[in-house]
Symmetry: C2
Subunit: 406 residues, 2 copies
């Protein structure tokens, strides 16, 4: 049985009846009017109401009455893929009034079909040889219309700052100025040059795009050209596509799932799919090694508790697949690093765009400021104190510009 | 240029500034600080604000202030596929506050990459040899856990009632009792038997399921086994998968797109993707020959104006691809047929489940009642009057049970 949890708003509904209607309607269709002999045969297909928890305080306002329904769906009813599960539990039902899919608990039989992240947190750390600190990711800025030398220069400056991962802009598609293989070759050459100076390895997540049927081939072309990571707009293609890519034995590099379009699903209290499921559990089951999601700090806001629930889903030991690296993103500058580490702990990728490129001393200094902030936070030194130390000019300039929170 | 229309709610925002931020931020990234020479190079990549229409009446309540923003995105920025377009116009932006994607106007250069429905309304009518009336579709009920003889019997009874299309239950996946090819063979054999009695052709839309990379092969297996139509949960797999299936020269049968999961996108006023775009324009561009969507009559409710806007998008002559057959679904019984025909006109598929299977004289009579109601509506005879005619017992029983609206 896979169990779906829904939040269902209705000022008047008999939620127990509604839950039963779902459990029967989305499985065997009808039950009470079946002959007894038929019931015996059909019982293994019948959905079950696990619980109905009505939220109905005394001072209830119109529109605020809801119930959380938990319904179990027999595995025998659907194939072992996410489209089948999602269509079963939230296909027609998604259109049935104010109802939001909050969570899914997969049965062991279902999860068995999912190898999950090929590398996960441990594998990504292994690739980089970094186990003792959070990772730092940097995002290309404004690269539409840029040519290869321009891209290379921007990549090189990011790499010099000591970042561990550089990701493509998710809106950079196949284009004549910076086509996939050339882009990979150029950026990886810049990565090697930077490594010869910094001694530091780096993953470049190139944006995997194109027609669905060509994605695996494109990934392999990118890998053959030297790509050591992929960025993927998983929600624009579907979880099953991510699942197939992550399960492909020819794709051994980490896949970073971008949350593009996630806002079409999660923010409404009444409709859609909750962020911890959408960007947490499902991305992980489908095999994302790293998952980007809106941070609670920036302009693109997700409440902090929802954020931490996404992280929790990405690392929850109850799911028998590798953990995915949480990458809270947007609005992050070096002054937030202590806060991020307090909120997310050690196994987090600190991801910055403007907070690196907008550094007053340039992009390389932007990366350095983050690394200095990380070191300070790990040593328990306050940022102003660390910034006053010799050699920490990058951090000093960053907190002068953006401030800091501790 | 492809033009996106958004509805953006904000009690205080300067919407002109916001629109400009989107147009620049989602294309060249920054503009005002570019050197003049660079601006000349980048201009062709720059997004443009087409219009900003603020809704701000005098008696505005908190939470109700919004603006409709129209932003044009240069085609040069994205590849000719729907994931690229959607990630560009509503990737990161979907997570940026209360914003809903209302519409997309595709450029001629973009639509050129989309052959659209292979058959469309005209082709489906041609296949069936029916040009002078709306079509009637019937839905399998409760077929999970049923074996082939059982399925055959249900199919046969539906076919005898004079329906033009029979669709699988969208939650029927590959399973040992009724596997894809056996299901097709069995049902098509029943269709032939019924045809020998009724003289009427029939399309059977078998549910196309499985791993994404196997869908085209599964479709061809089904077709080789005799399938003359496919049902597809397009939103669970992604528009690009539908586009690739509909463009596949090996798949010449009509594809009916099911709206499963659509409710995760369209119902919120503040978030997601509006139904006429989600279930209308995008389904059609991606090549669906028939599109199911919630009717305004049933339990799964969509407001009638939104419904008619979905239909309008499916048949709008401005889009240079074939029209998709509108299939308003849910809660439909024979007594609603005159209303449906008045609302949707002649080119509509009347789609019923309970309204056929629940007929007091059985499933075949259910289909007959619909056909009798259709004939009456086309002849301008009221349903009670038609039902009183000899040989119209099926219609009589239906309107006695469910009533009628005219």
């Amino acid at each position: 049985m896979c169990v779906a949890t829904y939040r269902c708003y209705d000022d008047k509904a008999d939620f127990n009846k509604k839950a039963l209607g779902i459990a029967v309607g989305l499985t065997v269709g009808s039950w009470t009017d079946l002959p007894e002999a038929r019931k015996a045969e059909m019982e293994k297909h019948l959905g079950r109401v696990i619980s109905v928890t009505v939220h109905e305080p005394e001072d209830l306002q119109p529109g605020e009455r809801y119930a959380d329904l938990r319904i179990a769906y027999p595995d025998v009813n659907f194939s072992r893929d996410l489209p089948a599960l999602l269509v079963t539990v939230f296909g027609k039902l998604s259109m049935d009034g104010r109802i939001k899919l909050l969570d899914l608990d997969f049965s062991p039989a279902f999860t068995e079909a999912f190898p999950g992240p090929k590398l996960g947190i441990g594998g990504v750390r292994e690739l980089l040889g970094i186990h003792d600190r959070p990772l730092l990711m940097s995002i290309f800025k404004s690269v539409i219309g840029h040519d290869l030398p321009n891209l290379r220069e921007q990549f090189y400056r990011q790499a010099l700052g000591g970042v561990d991962l550089i990701k493509d802009d998710e809106i950079l598609f196949e284009n004549p100025l910076t086509p996939l293989e050339k882009r990979v070759e150029t950026c990886m050459e810049a990565a090697r040059q930077a490594e010869s100076e910094t001694g530091q390895k780096l993953l470049y997540a190139v944006n995997l795009t194109g027609p669905t049927s060509q994605l695996a081939a494109n990934a392999k072309r990118a890998i053959a050209a030297g790509a050591n990571a992929l960025l993927f707009n998983a929600l624009a293609y579907g979880y099953d596509v991510l699942h197939e890519l992550s399960s492909d034995p020819g794709i051994q590099v980490p896949i970073a799932a971008h949350p593009a379009m996630a806002g079409a699903f999660y923010p409404s209290p009444h409709y859609g799919i909750a962020a911890p499921l959408l960007l947490g559990k499902l991305m992980r089951l489908a095999g994302a090694d790293l998952v980007l999601f809106p941070s609670p700090y920036g302009s693109v806001v997700m409440p902090k508790e929802e954020n931490l629930a996404v992280q929790a889903a990405l690392i929850d030991p109850a799911l028998p697949v590798r953990s995915s690296f949480p990458v809270p993103s947007a609005g992050i500058h070096p002054g937030l690093v202590p806060l991020i580490l307090r909120d997310f702990g050690h196994d987090v990728v600190v991801n910055a765009g403007g907070g690196i490129h907008g550094h007053p001393q340039g992009t390389a200094a932007g990366g350095q400021a983050f690394r200095q902030a990380m070191a300070a936070a790990q040593e328990g030194i306050s940022l102003p104190e660390a910034a006053a130390q010799p050699g920490k000019e990058a951090l000093k300039a960053a907190i002068e510009l953006w401030g800091y929170k501790e």
